[in-house]
Symmetry: C2
Subunit: 291 residues, 2 copies
């Protein structure tokens, strides 16, 4: 039995066929259409048909605030035009004839890392995704913790002691996301995106290195307070910015260990293990868990 | 069947006889001896004997970092001389001939409010205790959540966007405790303790009011980020500083609601219901839960 994972982001739709062992058997991708939600889902359905295989269910990890019970996009301000309110489950199910599960892309990433990646050996784990923004998800024994109102794991709004160069999605400048997000790193370094900052750092530019170290350090310090109060078994760091590697991970983990209460110093702070395919694999796991 | 609750603080030892319904049937108290842990426990045993009744077990809520499994004080820097390392369970059990359970006083407070107070109707609840410091505890369905390393609920080390007038217990000045603790309020207002600040505020002193409002607002904003990421059913605010009343609670709850992600605005933010006796009652519940 294989399932389809779909990762719908602001710039790209990726689709993968995932087997029973969570292995990606085939993938395809296309730019996200900019002319509305109907075109996005039609493109996803076309990519699924193109992949073939005999999938029995579809899981979607999508950008925005997702209601996984109804399979609807609750909020997607400024990400995808017309995405808010889209009944992803109903519409994609109609287009493909298959059962569809939907959740947020960060939760899909967490589910993949919890089941098949860095978080596998641990009970209660926080997954942090640092990309354009800062997101997160909590799992317990490999399953997503959804919380009372569906925001569990959303660490981007944690208060921090530094002021960021961009506003958090909610408008504040003293939230974690305003300091540690990829877009904050780019703006702080005067670049349009993180890779240009990384290129400068690796060419020996101390200012670029300082910007990346600062973002990682503030993230580590915010996580230290959070981890002390929630008292988790492990933290896994993923997302595009985390793939900078040691120059981002080491100051983050160092700041976390320096600030966390002493018992927490033994807690593992791990880089994500599945790379950029994690949300796709996790989306397929969403489908598998639902059937 | 009745149980004994003991609340051991830096200045006072209180002892209560609690019946099956969690009602306090008799109480007594004495200043905490300043000449070492042995004297503290001897005084507690004398107060227990003085109360009489036919208690079947003793629960102790004590200041400091407590290991509830071993019943030992792990850390108590600067609170009670010689308290660190004290085997409270073994020693008090030897002195009284009764089984003894021990935990931190903030956890005892939370257990009481969860079982008999403001948190009773809710599933996952954060209890905040604002006294000399800032502490907290988490409960799920009326039971304490201890976490992976025993620090669950310790919110005093959450990072905040204001610098406090005192250092946090861990040495930082940008942790919640350094801004919102009673000792921070007193220092910020140039007083030796919170009641003097409250007196000035009620006499119309705007500077005193601003100090209290600032502490409450920063606490509310820090909780907003935390509550979004942990996604709880309710937050209960207690401790000596919270008993200032509406002048503290309203700016706190207002800042929390203004900053929390929209689904969290419906989450109740409640004042504790059991007053200063909560740690004593909770300590007795610790004993009852253990037997």
């Amino acid at each position: 039995m294989s399932t389809i994972g779909v990762d719908i982001g602001g710039t790209k739709i990726a689709v993968g066929l995932v087997d029973d062992n969570g292995e990606l058997r085939a993938t395809t991708a296309a730019p996200t259409p900019a002319d509305g939600a109907r075109a996005v889902l039609a493109k996803a359905a076309a990519l699924i048909a193109e992949l073939g295989g005999k999938p029995t269910a579809i899981g979607v990890g999508a950008t925005g605030v997702i209601d996984p019970i109804e399979g609807v996009v609750r909020s997607a301000t400024g990400i995808l035009p017309g995405w808010q309110g889209t009944p992803v489950r109903a519409e994609l199910s109609r287009l493909t004839g298959l059962p569809v599960s939907v959740d947020n892309d960060v939760r899909a990433f967490a589910l993949a890392e919890a089941g098949l990646g860095a978080g596998r050996p641990y009970g209660r784990v926080l997954y942090v995704s640092v990309g354009t923004g800062v997101g997160g998800a909590l799992t317990e024994d490999g399953r997503l913790v959804r919380g009372a109102r569906g925001t569990a794991g959303e660490i981007g709004h944690l208060l921090v002691s530094a002021r960021g160069p961009i506003s958090c999605g909610c408008g504040r400048f003293d939230h974690l996301e305003s300091v540690a997000a990829g877009s904050a790193i780019a703006v702080a370094a005067g670049e349009s995106a993180v890779p240009a900052v990384v290129d400068r750092m690796r060419a020996g530019d101390d200012a670029a290195r300082a910007v990346i170290t600062h973002a990682a350090t503030v993230l580590g310090r915010a996580l230290a307070g959070f981890v002390t109060a929630v008292d988790l078994d492990a933290v896994v760091i993923g997302g595009g910015v985390s793939r900078i590697g040691a120059e981002f991970h080491n100051p983050l983990a160092g700041a976390l260990r320096a600030d966390v209460r002493p018992p927490g110093r033994a807690m593992p702070v791990l880089p994500a293990a599945l790379g950029a395919d994690a949300p796709l694999i996790g989306a397929a796991l969403l489908a598998r868990d639902a059937t």
